[in-house]
């Protein structure tokens, strides 16, 4: 049975496992995407994010588990019956057809009457702002234009879900920023459930409502960008999204609470119920660097160390401070005229307690 429902739908994936010959690539994926959401699959290369996306579209080896779109099981349907629109990384525009014919393709397959095809194609091209290029061939278009045509081709058939496979990675840097904003606007206008695969956290952060971080075929964490950033579930997510300071050590009982005993000797009180070998993570921008004799306030922790290197990053001065055997990165906002600590100087690092996170490895 072909799915003919065209209102946007949510995507549910249950216990999805997929292998290429002997390699187990997707391991037990469970995921729920809300209708109308702009959802990102983020991860390093080889993490399985593209494979997962293609599995939803119906390409690649058959997985075990369930894929539901709007509550309907689609895992057994061939790609041409799923009605999920996919934009390929290479755009995959057919070189032997004009732009117009490319965009009209899906409608022709759906036996839409010719009149209506013409109207809808024009509307779709209008939406991406390229109606005047309708009679050109793909070879005559720039990368950005091709990408928009690929998009138009997909949305004109009004799919229930839109899948984008690294759509911006073939564009140059400035174009990328512009395009991701336009994509977001378009998606919001159409209220279309969209899944977007990328390895670039900035793209994921700026465009998605929620995202899933994948590593080695396993979903590490699902949540909004800020959630994942502020409360990473594990070390991988913490270090993948943004810069992190990580100290390893042991969490033990201490005066009615817990204390983190770092390997290098620092002892830091933490609010955590966990005990045993752990990592302590905190972000560079949450550390305050001050003169060596500055004290911490009640909610803070103080560490002392020596400045090892200083990097001027424009709006930020990044210090590398040695504490024991570790080097801690501190991002200090640069204000014109403010004092800069020199290498080899003794400094105090003040960490607010609630910014400390205890993570498993």
């Amino acid at each position: 049975m072909t799915s003919t429902d065209t209102t946007t739908a949510g995507v549910d994936i249950e216990s999805l496992n997929l292998s290429f010959d002997d390699t187990h690539v997707l391991k037990g994926i469970d995921l729920s995407i809300e209708p109308g959401e702009f959802f990102a699959f983020l991860g390093p290369s080889g993490s399985g994010k593209s494979t997962l996306l293609r599995a939803i579209a119906g390409f690649g080896p058959t997985p075990t588990g369930r894929i539901l779109i709007g509550g309907e099981e689609i895992a057994h349907l061939p790609p041409w019956k799923r009605n999920v629109g996919m934009v390929f990384q290479s755009y995959a525009l057919w070189p032997h057809m004009t732009v117009r014919k490319n965009v009209a393709f899906g409608l022709e397959e759906r036996k839409v009457p010719t009149r209506e095809i013409a109207t809808r194609v024009d509307a779709a091209l209008e939406m991406v702002g390229l109606l005047d290029l309708a009679d050109r061939r793909p070879a005559q278009l720039s990368g950005g234009q091709q990408q928009r045509i690929a998009l138009a081709r997909t949305i004109v058939v009004e799919p229930r879900v839109l899948l984008l496979d690294e759509p911006l990675s073939n564009l140059d840097a400035n174009l990328r920023v512009q395009m991701r904003r336009e994509l977001r606007e378009l998606q919001q206008k159409l209220q279309l459930t969209t899944i977007f695969v990328t390895h670039d956290q900035e793209e994921a952060n700026t465009t998605s409502d929620r995202m899933a971080v994948l590593n080695d075929g396993v979903i590490q964490q699902v949540g909004t960008p800020m959630e994942l950033y502020d409360n990473p579930a594990n070390l991988f997510v913490a270090t993948f999204l943004g810069t992190a300071n990580v100290l390893s050590g042991v969490v033990e009982d201490a005066d009615g609470g817990a204390q983190f005993n770092a390997v290098d000797g620092a002892q830091i009180p933490v609010d955590s119920a966990e005990r045993g070998s752990r990592n302590l993570m905190f972000r560079p921008q949450n550390v305050v660097i001050a003169a060596a004799d500055t004290c911490a306030d009640a909610d803070g922790v103080r560490l002392t160390g020596t400045v090892r290197h200083v990097e001027f990053l424009g709006s930020i001065i990044r210090y590398g401070v040695t504490i024991g055997a570790d080097t801690v990165l501190v991002d200090d906002r640069h204000q014109q005229g403010a004092p800069v600590f020199a290498p080899d100087s003794q400094v105090s690092l003040l960490l607010p307690r609630d910014q400390l996170m205890v993570l498993e490895s």
């Binding site: 019956k81 995959a92 032997h96 899906g106 997909t154 058939v157």
Partner: protein, 572 residues
């Protein structure tokens, strides 16, 4: 004068000049001569169109023209029909018989079509094996070999590998995302094929089809042996040999053959220009493949085996004929014997040695000239270098018959010094004809080989002190070796079975190569057994050569790839 060339260009310029002279003397001049005679009044020598008028108003020639066209077109069609399922199986499925299909593609090429023609008549003729059985069991016969059908049948079986190779390559060049995006938008099956796969594969296919068309159009040996004379090439041959070297009709036909060849080449070029749809992207090229279900596997193998039988039938028939005593109006020969092989080895070893010599020399010249032209075109900025390429490739448009006629006409009064013999009847002219005819293929192989050698490898050598010449010898040629060897073997294999030009140029029996020997032996009223035996030897000989060359190329490619992997690994 020396200052006109940059340092390091004098060598190539000299080589280029010599090659140009060679091409002019042995390609341009004879063909121009033929064209001129066609436009000359045979009595007065004045320019005239009267010969062409005579040609087109004579019903025999009109018929020949139409027949040649029809046969060539139908051969393309039938060859395509044979090739399509095989191309489909190898590009669409993970078909374990892919190697089998590759071998299938080589088998026909190692036997000249005219040798197969004789065997095919015995197998598929009106009273041949297949029809005798059909008539006995089912009461009907199929006119496989009646009239023009016979030519079409034999030619398509021989030439379908060209179509197969081009079709497979064209299909393999289509990026997978082209198909996936179409499927994503709802297309599947036949519609998908018709709208996406077919149009993207077309240019590659047309290029191959046009080539097959010319080859069939120009073929002399097959129609001759099948006793079909109302086609253009046989008519040209007959006119020149029966009526004489001054008969204008032979030249008129030559002009028409050349014109059509040029037309086909042009069509082929047009098809590829600007429509090169090969886009190899991340994720790999080629269509999506899937595994076969068991019954599908059986079906595929059944089709492949059927085609294999068809393709092997000339070879089988030839084998039977070579071992058979008498084969007359029966499904199989009456009895079997080794006698024919004995006859051949005692009487015909001269043909084999001649072939080794001629084809070997021709192939050698071809790769030397081919490498030189490739280097001059791609690595030097010499003016007019493109014309070397065009000139050498132009030989594709000149059929063997026309080369033969042209050489006879141009060189029969030209006496070679020392030997004091007309050039047209000296065995070396056969080598020259073979060289010219096979040069385009060798050139393409050399060009492909050269383009795989990064220019930076040469620059590194020059940076370290090697002259241009030393660089070419120590760096470029060794790196091209696989491609050069491929070019050599292809030239050799095709030259050793060339008949069209040979038939016209062989003067004495002792100068005759293999193909001619087979042709001669096949005209014995006491039986064709020895001819078939010679044919089998020729086929084995070419087949083995091809096999060994493939092994060598594979080995050189593997060694190149392993060094590449090592290099990559070192930088990872």
């Amino acid at each position: 004068m020396a200052s006109a060339f940059k340092p390091g260009q004098r060598g190539p310029a000299l080589a280029g000049g010599l090659i140009a002279l060679f091409l002019i003397f042995f390609l341009v001049v004879p063909v121009v001569q033929v064209v001129l005679v066609a436009f000359q009044d045979p009595n007065t020598g004045a320019p005239t169109l009267i010969n062409f008028v005579d040609f087109f108003t004579t019903s025999l020639f009109q018929e020949s023209f139409v027949n040649s066209f029809y046969v060539a077109a139908m051969s393309v069609v039938v060859a395509t029909i044979i090739a399509i399922p095989l191309a489909y199986f190898t590009t669409r499925f993970n078909f374990s018989g892919a190697l089998l299909i590759q071998t299938l593609g080589i088998i026909p090429l190692i036997m000249p079509p005219f040798v197969g023609a004789v065997a095919m008549t015995l197998l598929f003729g009106a009273n041949g094996s297949v029809n005798l059985l059909l008539d006995e069991w089912f009461g009907f016969t199929i006119p496989f070999m009646e009239g023009l059908n016979g030519v079409i049948f034999v030619e398509s079986i021989h030439y379908f590998p060209f179509i197969l190779i081009n079709l497979s390559a064209a299909l393999n060049n289509i990026d997978r995302s082209m198909e996936e995006s179409a499927q994503n938008l709802g297309a599947n099956g036949v519609r998908l094929f018709r709208r996406i796969v077919f149009p993207l594969a077309m240019p590659g296919y047309v290029a191959g089809a046009a080539l097959v068309f010319i080859k069939v159009f120009d073929d002399l040996g097959t129609p001759l042996l099948l006793n079909i004379n109302n086609m253009l090439a046989p008519q040209a041959f007959l006119r020149i040999t029966s009526i004489g070297i001054s008969d204008p009709m032979g030249y008129v036909i030559s002009v028409i053959l050349v014109a059509f060849s040029l037309l086909s080449l042009w069509v082929s070029l047009l098809a590829l220009r600007g429509k090169d749809y090969s886009t190899v992207q991340k994720g790999g090229g080629g269509l999506m493949r899937r595994d076969l279900r068991t019954w599908e596997k059986i079906g595929c193998y059944a089709v492949v085996i059927l085609i294999l039988l068809l393709v092997l039938s000339p070879h089988l028939g030839l084998l039977l004929l070579s071992f058979g005593t008498i084969w007359s109006y029966s499904v199989l020969p009456d009895a079997y014997t080794f006698e024919h092989y004995v006859t051949v080895f005692s009487e015909a070893s001269g043909y084999i040695t001649n072939t080794l010599l001629y084809a070997g020399l021709a192939a050698l010249f071809d790769v030397i000239i081919g490498t030189a032209i490739a280097y001059i075109v791609w690595r030097t900025g010499l003016p007019g270098r493109k014309w070397l390429d065009y000139g050498a490739t132009a030989a594709l448009a000149v059929p063997g018959v026309v080369i033969g006629i042209g050489y006879l006409r141009t060189f029969h009064s030209f006496n070679v010094p020392i030997i004091d013999q007309p050039l047209a009847s000296w065995w070396v002219i056969i080598v020259v004809a073979l060289t010219i005819r096979r040069l385009p293929y060798a050139l393409r192989a050399c060009m492909a080989a050269l383009q795989q050698v990064s220019i930076m490898l040469e620059e590194a050598a020059e940076n370290l002190g090697a002259t241009k010449g030393r660089t070419v010898w120590r760096v470029v040629v060794p790196l091209m070796s696989g491609g050069i060897l491929a070019g050599f073997v292809t030239s050799f294999a095709t030259a050793s079975v060339e008949l069209s030009a040979t038939l016209m140029l062989v003067a004495v029996d002792s100068d005759a190569p293999l193909a001619y020997g087979i042709y001669e032996f096949m005209q014995s009223a006491s039986g064709r057994g020895p001819g078939a035996a010679l044919g089998v030897i020729g086929v084995l000989f070419v087949g083995l050569g091809t096999y060994f060359s493939h092994r060598i190329i594979e080995r050189s490619r593997a060694s190149r790839e392993s060094t590449a992997v090592v290099a990559e690994g070192a930088t990872a």
